[in-house]
Amino acid sequence: MESATRDRPTTNPPTAPSLPEPLPPQSAPPWVRVLGKKAESLASWVSQWSIEQRVLAGFGLVFLGIVVISVMSYRNTAVVVKNSRLDTTSHELIQLLGSIEEALIAAESGHRRYLVTGDESYLKAYRGIVEQMPEFSRYLQALAAPSGQQERATQLEQLIKQQLDIETDAIEQRATQGADAVRHLALPGVAKRELDDIHRLIADLESAEQQATRTRVLQSAGTTRSTIALLGLGAVLQLVLLGSVYFLIHHDITNRRRVAAELRRRGELLQAANKELEAFSYSVSHDLRAPLRHIDGYAALLSKTAGEALNDKARRYLQTISDSAKQMGQLIDDLLVFSRMGRQEMLHSTVNLNQLIRTVIHDLRLDLQGTTISWTIGSLPEVPGDPAMLRQVFMNLLSNAVKFTATRPKPRIEIGATRDTPGEVTIFVRDNGVGFDMQYVNKLFGVFQRLHRNDEFEGTGIGLANVRRIIHRHGGRTWAEGAIDQGATFYLSLPLKRTSS
């Protein structure tokens, strides 16, 4: 925001109101606007995501954060570990330098005493260091390498070598030429200058190592602090992740429980309703028939007892009474069949439609006397389904076809199958009967829907409703085409694989 105020032309504020554009976008500097637009487009992009995608994106971000933190913590820890290893090396180097210096001092003072006294026992320290020198130098190089002090180490080695060479010369002189030859050497010491140089070099080496150690300690402390902070952040992120996972799972489980309870409740309601329906249809089938039987029966008894005394009109009335009773009986029966078709358990077997159609035609022919229908029956497939139900379907369709072609001089009925859609077969029943007006096609398959008056064609208006219900239960569809006096075609599709309920 500081840069925002700096960038704004504060010297002439009166120009701002004169601008036609609205103030807020104008007051922001260009980069804020660009960022704002980007954030806006990002927000609108995110708002198109589904809830799952958003949850996944959130989890992904948190997870990425945790991974980054883990990597950084690992690298920090590696630095600390490396520093501590270097510290150990430094410490060892300092110790080594101490012992080298000590040994050199001891050798130097020993050799001087030898020069004076000629007692070889004073050369013990000198011989020791000459013997150990190769090992010391190897050790020195190895320890100096990690902190980049090889050069100094090499220098030190050379100085030591020089000193030892000088001492060796003096000792040889003493041994071959006697005490007097080296008297001038014995008192001040032959390698005093070299020893001082060595002392200074060792001090330099030591202080450099100490300096490096101090730097490393500071670095380690810094990285340790940042590691702790990172781990804290990581813990917070993990808590956030766990918290949201818990929240989501809790939310989901609560939802599922609620849905399951609702389903159970509805299932119970449905079961109760179904039981009630069953009791109702049982009562209809049993109790409603009795009065009809009585109406018909007593009408018949009346016409029998008083038959002679009745005039034609009265006899017609009696006939109407008994016809109506019979019609209602038929309605009740059809309705019961319809209701049973909806509730009845379906039998799952394979139905040979060719055979089925032939038996249905055979049964229907018994009722047809006089008319000679020309049947055309194509090759029909085997389909999965309930044989009794499918028999009912073709019973209804074929008896309809027979009924509505009865007035034709040459009735023709055609049955066939087509396979237009994969996985299902379409069966059609075509007749050249009275047909129907396509504008009423939607009423054809409804319960109690009739397109003809009862005095034209008899019927209760349940047959096609039954057909549709059965085909739906098989997982298929029904439809019809027709035109008045042009005949009608009824289609039904059946899946070739079992999908019914």
Partner: protein
């Protein structure tokens, strides 16, 4: 042939009973018919008790049994008959309005000898009852009396 064995008609509905009798009259077997109006009465008749205490004991030639009856229903009567060694041989014909599958299944499971749905149409009803009466009352040879 010496003693005329009765046909027992269990029918709670007096109109149905009257129509059935009218049908049997045509074949002159109506006078053999004893009508009971509920299940309890049927059992009283069969066990010669209650209002039938004084009747000459012996099983009817056939029992026409309605399913839905007051007090004791047809299924209950059928179960009693078929569980009694003495009554078991009596042919029982279920004569009912119900076409329900479970009624059919239950009746046959309990040992009913026949199951007839009363047709709504009177002519069919008459011929059904007549044929039943003639077949079970005249043609069919009843089981020998146990005692």
């Amino acid at each position: 042939m010496t003693t005329v064995k009765p046909i027992l008609l269990a029918e709670d509905n007096p109109r149905d009973a009257e129509l059935a009798l009218a049908a049997m009259e045509e074949h002159h077997i109506a006078d053999k018919v004893v009508v009971c109006h509920d299940g309890a009465e049927v059992l009283d008749y069969l066990y010669c008790r209650g209002s039938f205490k004084s009747r000459q004991c012996g099983n009817p030639v056939v029992v026409f049994l309605d399913l839905k009856m007051p007090k004791v229903d047809g299924i209950e009567v059928l179960r009693t008959i078929k569980n009694d060694a003495n009554l078991k041989p009596i042919p029982v014909v279920m004569l009912t309005s119900s076409r329900e599958e479970r009624d059919l299944a239950q009746s046959y499971a309990l040992g009913a000898n026949a199951y007839v749905v009363k047709p709504v149409e009177f002519q069919q009803f008459i011929s059904a009852v007549k044929e039943l009466g003639v077949f079970w009352g005249v043609i069919n040879e009843p089981p020998p009396e146990g005692n």
